[in-house]
Structures are given as structure tokens and as C-alpha cells.
């Protein structure tokens, strides 16, 4: 696995918002079909990292990105059709957003963008994605209800279902469990383990134990810098390069 060509290579990635540097020259590789964890305290640059991967600087005039990001070997900072890129990258952010359309249409939105028209095909995608996001049983009888009026936890799972609906190659999750109860969190974690066979997952989490449960390798971000990246278990029990990593995972600061 270690020998495979990386799914994602980040080189000297710097993200700025005006004068504030949110990420300072980060370089790291993410391998195919691994769950790559990112941990670190608030405002350490984790979310900015994900935003850069989906070229979200285009939504936010103050956000400036420098450096290279290679996705399947191709530099995404220079692709000619950024929408195609975003279709291949699924994102889930901590604040869930159910679009103001039916639950069904929320999940069918992405496939429709990609040109899927056949009802039976859409039905199949909607059911599969809602099942995977552990939401199907709760909503299967009211797929025409508004997605934006579901509870926070349900909207979060709807967002996950929507992110899965385009069969992304890369799935970015940012503290997805904030709005979800612990039982559902566990169910989604199981789903992520299954998904690993098809998708490469980057999991930003403020829960160190969640990274330990799920991630194959984990990076530790602190104050806009990458402190350390390695096999997850090593950060907890093995030798660490930087003592701050051990202090963080053991909860001495946070």
C-alpha cells in the first residue's frame, strides 16, 4: 500500500485570508483508499486545508491559495473545468446544509448535474446513499419532505448522502459528528470503514479518539503548520518526532 502512487500530493500549500496566514507551506501525501486523519486544535488550519482541496477560494474573495495540489497526479490549481473536479470530491462540513428541496432531490441533485435522467437510476442512487448515511430508515416514507426542515443530525446525514451521491474519488469530512448523536456517529464510522475500499477519505476531526479509531495515518496541525504526519497508532504509542504531538493526543492542551 505504501508503494502506491499517492491519490493526493500537496506541496508547499499556503492559505491566507487577507493578512492572516491560515496554513503555512504544508506538504503531505494521501494514499489511495486510506482514511487520512487530520487532528489539531481549533484554528490550526484544518478546515482551510479542506477548502483548498475543493478550490473553495473561488467562493471567498479574501482567501488566497499558493502551492501545488496534485490529484491523481494532476495539478488542480490549474485545471480548466473546476466543476468536474468538485464533482469528484465530496465534502461534508460541520454545519449541515439541507437544500430547500425534497430529501429525494437533495440526494439526486449531484447525479442530475452529472446528467443522470433515468428515474430508476436516480431511485437506486438515492436509496443507496441514504442507506450508507444511516438515514434511509428514518426518511424512506417521506422522501418528498423538505430537506432543509430536517433536524440538525438528519441534515448532517443528508449532507453525507449528498456527498456520496456522485461516487466521489475523494471524500472530505470536517468534524461531521458535531451535529450527530453518538449512536449515529458510530454507524457512520462503520460506513466509512466500508467505503474505504472505493474512496479515499480525509477526515478532519476534533476528536482524537475518532482519528485513532478510523484513520490509517494521521497528520497533526498546529498554528497553521504541519507538525507531524505518520501511522496513526504511532502518534499515540510509538516514537513521535515532536513532543507537542504526544502532548496534544494525550490531552495536555487542546
Amino acid at each position: 500500500m505504501v508503494d502506491a502512487a499517492p491519490k493526493l500530493s500537496v506541496r508547499d500549500l499556503t492559505v491566507r485570508y487577507g493578512d492572516f496566514t491560515a496554513l503555512d507551506r504544508i506538504s503531505l501525501d494521501v494514499l489511495p483508499n486510506e482514511i487520512f486523519g487530520i487532528i489539531g486544535p481549533a484554528n490550526s488550519g484544518k478546515t482551510s486545508f479542506l477548502r483548498a482541496l475543493n478550490r473553495m477560494e473561488e467562493f471567498q474573495p479574501s482567501m488566497k491559495v499558493e502551492g501545488k495540489i496534485y490529484f491523481n497526479g494532476q495539478d488542480i490549481t490549474a485545471v480548466r473545468n473546476v466543476y468536474r473536479l468538485r464533482q469528484k470530491v465530496g465534502v461534508v462540513f460541520p454545519l449541515p446544509v439541507g437544500l430547500p428541496m425534497s430529501i429525494y432531490e437533495n440526494v439526486a441533485f449531484g447525479p442530475r448535474l452529472a446528467g443522470v435522467r433515468k428515474r430508476s437510476e436516480l431511485d437506486e442512487i438515492v436509496e443507496r446513499c441514504l442507506r450508507r448515511a444511516a438515514l434511509w430508515d428514518e426518511v424512506k416514507d417521506r422522501l418528498n419532505a423538505l430537506g432543509s426542515l430536517l433536524s440538525g443530525g438528519q441534515q448532517q446525514r443528508l449532507t453525507i448522502a449528498r456527498a456520496l451521491s456522485q461516487d466521489p474519488e475523494l471524500l472530505l469530512l470536517d468534524e461531521f459528528s458535531i451535529a450527530v448523536d453518538p449512536v449515529t456517529t458510530m454507524r457512520i464510522e462503520d460506513v466509512l470503514r466500508e467505503l474505504k475500499d472505493e474512496v479515499t477519505i480525509i477526515l478532519v476531526t476534533n476528536l482524537v479518539q475518532q482519528a485513532r479509531r478510523l484513520a490509517d495515518r494521521t497528520a497533526f496541525f498546529l498554528e497553521s503548520e504541519l507538525v507531524e504526519v505518520g501511522v496513526t497508532e504511532d502518534l499515540f504509542t510509538g516514537p513521535v518526532v515532536d513532543q507537542r504531538t504526544r502532548d496534544y493526543v494525550e490531552g495536555r492542551f487542546g
Partner: protein
Amino acid sequence: MQTDLDARGFDWYMDRAVAVGVFVGGISAIVFIIGIFLFVTREGLSFVIGPMDLKEFFGSIAWRPTSIRNPTYGILALMAGTASVTGLAMLVAVPFSLGAAIYIAEFATGRTREALKVLVELLAAIPSVVWGFIGLSIMNPLIIDLFDVPIGLTVLNAGVILGLMAAPIMTTIAEDALKAVPDSYREAAEAMGATRWQVVFQVVLPAAKNGLMAAILLGVGRGFGETMAVLMASGHSINIPTSPFDSVRALTATIAAELGDTAVGSDHYGVLFTLGIFLFLVTFVINLTADLVVRGVREQ
């Protein structure tokens, strides 16, 4: 290396096309405002570079554009007409619309508030020709009876009508300005034991000062540019008024009344367009000032 991330399909080009299309729509507003200035100037230019005498234009009260032997084009009396009517209108509209705005924004609650807002909005919708008709057929006899004067189509009539017309708009803008003052200001003052009216006078009004100024300015602009109501209610006689019971004639009304009888390209036609340039420039300055005043608020 070309991959499918570089392929641009229908949706990509559609998106670009729409971006260009809506941009054209966006700049159309600029095109139109420049177009208004250019076309009005184009028709008025022959007068401006021809018979126009700046001293006479602004300094003379003799407006005799149809005189065959010796036409004169002095707009002083017309300006006095516009100024007197607008001034009286503001005298009526400013206190009452600010008072109403304060009541609606700071004292009224719930359904009363909503009902008052709807009412004010409906008042603002009454067309100016209907206001003119009201001045002509309701206010006119009323003024004659009340004050025992020979005619009721006067500064008083047009001023009151214009005041009633401008008040709803000023109320709406002023109320927006008051609502824009953050609730935290009010809460902070109330927490210190201030009563409602103390909060209003000592906190809200000073904070909303610029917005209220802008409301008044826009009201002035509105009164200045109003045509039909002033045409019908002011008596339309060239006069420097010395009392509210004098008839006057306004700049706007002059254009409306005379343009139909002029030959295209004549001096009379040209001078009416020149009045248009003047009106355009004055309202432009008023609107610009109001905008700068409001911008001053945002920068605080």
C-alpha cells in the same frame, strides 16, 4: 496532460454565457443614466451654445419663451416656485414623517406596527396625477373657504399636497435608518435604567442621524422633481411668491405644460431641454449627497 478535468462541456459554456449576460444587465443602469444625460443634453445643446445667456437664465424673472419679438428665458421665478413649494412641503413632511418613523420603529409593536407600515406603503403608491387632481378639486375649494382667498391653487396647496406625497417615502426610509441601529445599543441603554424615550432621544436618534439626513434629502429630491401634482395644484403662474397664498409655477411643471406646443429644434424646445439638464444635475447632486451621507453611516 489533458484529463477530463480539463474538458469543458455545455454547462461550462452556459455558465460563462450567463455571466456575460447578467453583466450586461448590470451595467445597463449605467448606460441608461448616461444615456439620459446625453440625449437630454443633445436636444438642449443648440440652446445652450446659442441664445442662452447665463446671467439672464439664472438672474431674470422674465420667462417669455413664446414672445415673437423679444423672447426671454429667465428661470428665477420658476426656481422660486419650485423652492417655495418644496420648502413648504418639507415643513409639512419632515416633522411628521420623522415622528411617524420614530413611532413605527420604536414604540409600535406587533400588528399595529405591521398595519402602519402597510398603510404608509399604500400611501406612497398613490399616483402623482391623482394627488394633482386632489389639489385641484378638493384642496382648492377648501383653501378658498377656509382662508377666504380668491384662488386656492397656490404655494400652500401644492406644498401640502407635495408634503403628503413625500411623507410616506421619507417615513419608510427614516424607519429603515432607525431599524438599522443595532438592538444592543438600546439594550445597553435600557440596562442602565434609561426609559424608552430617553433611549430614543439619547441613543437611537444620534446613531441614526445620517440615515435620517438621507431620508430628508431624498424627500427634497422627490419634491424638487415632482411634476404632475405641482403642475395641477400650484396655479401655474409665473411669480416670485411673497405669501403661501400666491400662485407659482415650478421648473418641472413648465416643461410638462409647454413641451407639447413647441416645434422640435426651436429655441423654446431647446430651453425646455436645458431645464431638463438643470433638473437632472440638481437631482444627481442630491442623490449623490444622500448616498455619501448614508455611506458615512456604514463606515462608522
